[in-house]
């Protein structure tokens, strides 16, 4: 099914355009992908590092106001990443690094869902300046940092472990 979808995708005008049919789409998307990365890692980093005890003067609740910017970064990367895939699906579908990258993104998503569903989110939201986060939240924050750094690792390994670019 993946094979059939990829074959169809590869035949579309979009794929043609991204893969060089329209010059500069690929480099433009790469540049945006790095900007999205910085937005996501920076904002999520502020939240996770605060939970872990750095910059404890920050109340945790209001950090949520920065989150739309992290979501913007993630969205930029979802769109540009999908365009890379559309441009040349076959260099990704058999690529081990790509599989791990998707897995790590998925696990980071699960981590966020668990954070909300278990009510940890509400607990953490009320933590004021100078106060410690509970251990469970710290574990989630450490997992989040590990997983996003992991996503960067697998993304970077796309050309080296697999052979995409």
């Amino acid at each position: 099914m993946v094979q059939a979808f990829s074959t169809w995708l590869h035949g579309t005008r979009l794929s043609w355009a991204v893969a060089g049919g329209v010059p500069w789409i690929w480099p433009l998307c790469e540049t945006l992908h790095f900007m999205g990365l910085a937005l996501l890692v920076g904002i999520v980093g502020v939240f996770d590092l605060r939970i872990l005890g750095m910059a404890k003067g920050l109340p945790v609740g209001p950090i949520q106001r920065l989150m739309p910017w992290a979501i913007l970064g993630f969205s930029i990367n979802l769109v540009t990443g999908s365009l890379f895939f559309a441009g040349d699906p076959f260099q990704y579908i058999h690529n081990v690094a790509f599989g791990f990258k998707l897995l790590f993104i998925g696990l980071a998503g699960v981590n966020v869902i668990v954070f909300y569903v278990t009510g940890l989110y509400r607990h953490v939201d009320g933590i004021g300046p100078g106060h410690d986060a509970p251990l469970a939240a710290k574990v989630a924050a450490a997992a989040s940092l590990f997983l996003w750094v992991g996503v960067m690792y697998w993304g970077r390994m796309l050309p080296f472990i697999g052979n995409a670019f």
């Binding site: 904002i43 910059a55 003067g57 920065l66 750094v149 670019f165």
Partner: protein, 171 residues
């Protein structure tokens, strides 16, 4: 000048970074450069956004603690960047885009230092930050975007460099 760059590039270290098939050579150094970018630029952007008025309920002063991480990320990138530069000295140092990237980073780091002086002083806890600090924050966003753009476009303008087999799609 060219013989010097060639000898750098062909040094044992330069050759190892560029041509070793080990994942610890070019791939890992490039990965370190990406992680450094994420934390250096990302935390700068978070501080810039706060200064520009996003999440005003957050006190600004505690953000100063992130400077430690930002400087660590800066040095990771200075070191990994130097290694990548040595490996491709003849191509990168003759690429105009490289100097644009360096200029952007120089001024972005200057504004990072100036923001620390301007916005993290006695006035730090005021919700609204003074206009000069806001101008610096806006400039910082533009400069980091410029550094990222120039860094990426080095692969597309001028002489081709990078690990053999790692080819970017030339438009």
């Amino acid at each position: 000048m060219m013989p010097l760059l060639a000898s750098l590039e062909n040094s044992g270290f330069g050759t190892w970074v560029r041509e070793s098939s080990s994942l610890w050579a070019y791939p890992t150094i490039l990965f370190m450069h990406t992680v450094g970018l994420g934390f250096l630029v990302g935390l700068n952007v978070a501080i810039d956004l706060r200064i520009l008025g996003v999440a005003e309920k957050l006190p600004l002063a505690p953000f100063e603690k992130f400077y430690r991480v930002m400087w660590a990320a800066f040095w990771i990138n200075a070191l990994s960047g130097t290694a990548l530069l040595v490996a491709d000295a003849t191509t990168k140092l003759t690429n105009r885009v490289f100097y644009i990237k360096m200029a952007c980073i120089f001024f972005a780091v200057m504004s990072m230092v100036l923001i620390r002086r301007r916005a993290f002083g006695a006035a730090a806890d005021r919700a609204a930050v003074a206009a000069p600090a806001r101008a610096l924050a806006a400039m910082s966003l533009v400069l980091w975007a410029g550094a990222i753009t120039a860094g990426r476009l080095m692969a597309y303008f001028g002489p081709v460099s990078g690990a053999p087999g790692l080819q970017n799609r030339l438009p």
